[in-house]
Amino acid sequence: MPLLEARQLTKRFPGVVALNGVSFDLHPGEVHALCGENGAGKSTLIKTLSGIHPLGSYEGEIRVDDRPVSFRSLQDAEAAGIAVIYQELALVEEMSVAENIFLGHEPRRGPWVDWDEVRVRAVRLLEQFRIQLDPDIPVRELGVGQKQLVEIVKALAKKSRILILDEPTAALAETEVAILLGILRELRSAGVGCIYISHKLGEVMSLADRITVLRDGASITTVKASEADIPGIIRHMVGREIKDLFPRDRPASVGPVLLSVRNLDAAPDSESSARLTGIGFDVRAGEVLGIGGLMGAGRSETLMHLFGAWGTRLSGEVELGGRRYDLPAPGESIRRGLVMVTDDRKRYGLHLEQPIGYNLSLSSLDQVTRNGLLDEAAETLLDQGFFDALRIKAPGLDAVVGGLSGGNQQKVVIGKALMTDPRVVFLDEPTRGIDVAAKLEVYQLINRLTAEGRAVVLVSSELPELMGMSDRIVMLHEGTVGGTFLPAEYDPERLMAAAMGRTPVAED
């Protein structure tokens, strides 16, 4: 008997059919993965199953334990044992781990919250899943990966039997992914059903029991993971074959050094101790330098610092375009030809409530200002050029960015950066949470940038992507360089060893 079953779900939005007669079921103790490009209907399906799209706004039937249910809200779905863990975390930063786990359903003694019980039960849950977290520290001090784990424990504390995980590992480093997958396997034996959404197909193949592929709002196929292969899944997702996942055109020769970093030490602020120590690398025109490392190794901090948006420099020599660059600031960096696409596009990259055109030109208004006034005609022309070149899928420049899919939002952020005509481009996790087709477009864009003689610094948590796209890789470990590798030396184990701070062992 299925735990959860959806029959012939159809959900229409003005002008689009987001779900077109999708059927789906989930058995106890099963991990059922949902794959599909952005806009394929995964989010809509989840929102319908979890009551965010209330009864009456869709056609079809949802059944839990073989009985029809009618969810009017998220709370109804939660009462039926369904918990959703979103990409955007819903934790209260100032509260402790334990408080967050029991937020909204605190154990009580009479009218008062029983704080001892909160703590005891939190400790028990954390131990049960072997998560090493202090229940008393505020969530704001945790990394993204740890927050994700708290979020899952929070769902389990509600005795949820159906977990829906939307891209849970998108922001996690490899070790954290391992912990998470371990927890999910444990839940499976406890009879919990999981709906698992991820763009990382390797993970899906190793974890899921069954895989359902959605495309354009329709369910294309449901297969047993043991009988599926990744190229086959991708073929179903995009409706065509993608031969080479990482189409890097490695340059025959590279140009002069555009960015040189030597012995860089930096701290979050002048009162703290150094978080980055002795960082050094060169980036040449026409090449892609990959930067890898575990979560918290200082990858984003390194880029943000060089760009001028993080921390204070304690020592070190940085040269940008052959000139010393000691006091970086974003505006000055952009003027000198260094631009950054941050990993958290909603926080650092976009003005979600504003139209595409506004976002695209925000860093480049100097180019379209005449006598102090904006030349809106010239601006529109410039925006339209990037809109077309990046193949942003939207009705037009006036469409509000918040309504676009992740891949298209990312294109807007990249377009904003490229409009400044940079020599050096920092890309921090540029393919996080975007679909296969959009990823491919980002890789092609990287090739085009280096072919034009620009330099790219690529930070990625995914080793295959890093190895596939970089001409050299620097692995960071706890704020310092753990190792630098040329393509001939690429080997996942050696890269990971460098990331863990172990000296790579010679193989023979």
Binding site: P330, R347, Y358, L362, L373, E376, A377
Partner: protein, 364 residues
Amino acid sequence: MPAMLGVIWIFFALVSPQFLSARNLSMLLIELSITATLAVGILLVLIPGHTDLSVGAGAGLLGGIASVLVFRLGWPAPAALLLSLGVGLLLYLGMGAFIVRYRIQAFIVTLGAMLAFRGGFWLVIRSVTTPVVRGGESNLYSLLTTYYLPPFAGLLLAVLVCGVLAIVTVRGRRRRQAAGASVEPGELAFLRTFAGAQGILLVVLVCNQYRGLPLAFLILCAVAVSIHVLTRHTPFGRYLYAIGGNEEAAVVSGIPTRRTVTTAFLILGGIVAVTGFMATAYSGASTTTVGDLMELDAIAACVIGGTSLKGGRGSVLGALFGALIMASLLNGMTLLSVLPETKYIVRGLVLVFAVWMDVSFRRR
């Protein structure tokens, strides 16, 4: 919002025949000018997500400085106004720089400034009524709210403005078309321009029935047009919205956030001074109550006009509408000799009601 304004106007017109008289409308226009100028100024700091509670007290203080210079020290009015304007610019520049440099909430800093300005104001005028002019003559200061543009000059100005409006519209369309961008249909553009011109002419004709266009209203127009252009057609304006919408993204986009916000406060300082001069001139003298609660009227006007106190949203046109609603209410109720107690209650209720309507329409 226009509907709400319509209801208010029709109501007052029905219960008080004087409401629509040329004389009263001229008075309303002067009162509007004072509130609206300040509202448009405070909009500059509301858009990037800051606020300013000190503008009412600041207006009183800066008006007071000018009054004392003129009445007690015998300075010529232009010099007194200029010096006081300079003081206003300096005070708000300092306040803005302090807020962005030390990251202290504008609410706190300007609350402190409000108290300090109020005390400074009373100190400056020694808590006695200080006229804006010596011995019943008139000077530039007193003329701010008593001078009217002669009817013929008003008409000429109106025609000139309409002409400029038409030229700007046509040239803007040509440039967009030349760049290959989309333009609204010609009929719509014509209608929009035509309606605007009609409005301008109507205001002038009504005012000419009394004494002509009030100087205060011309000051409002100049300030409003400048701020409109500044917010909508310059990089500075874009940056204000960007900072209010998502400050972290604004920083990473290379926007000089500190300089932008400090500049907004600096410009506000100038506008506070001008508003202070008009408000003081309107009451004829600096009294201890000039500027009382003006900051709340200004913020209320912006909010009624769709400005978000969280930043990132708001427009000059909205603020003008909001100010017109607040000024009309006050003017109408004064005509009807409504008790001051009732006036406050009604204004408070209308503020909340207007914002509630705005929010519920937006949600649809």
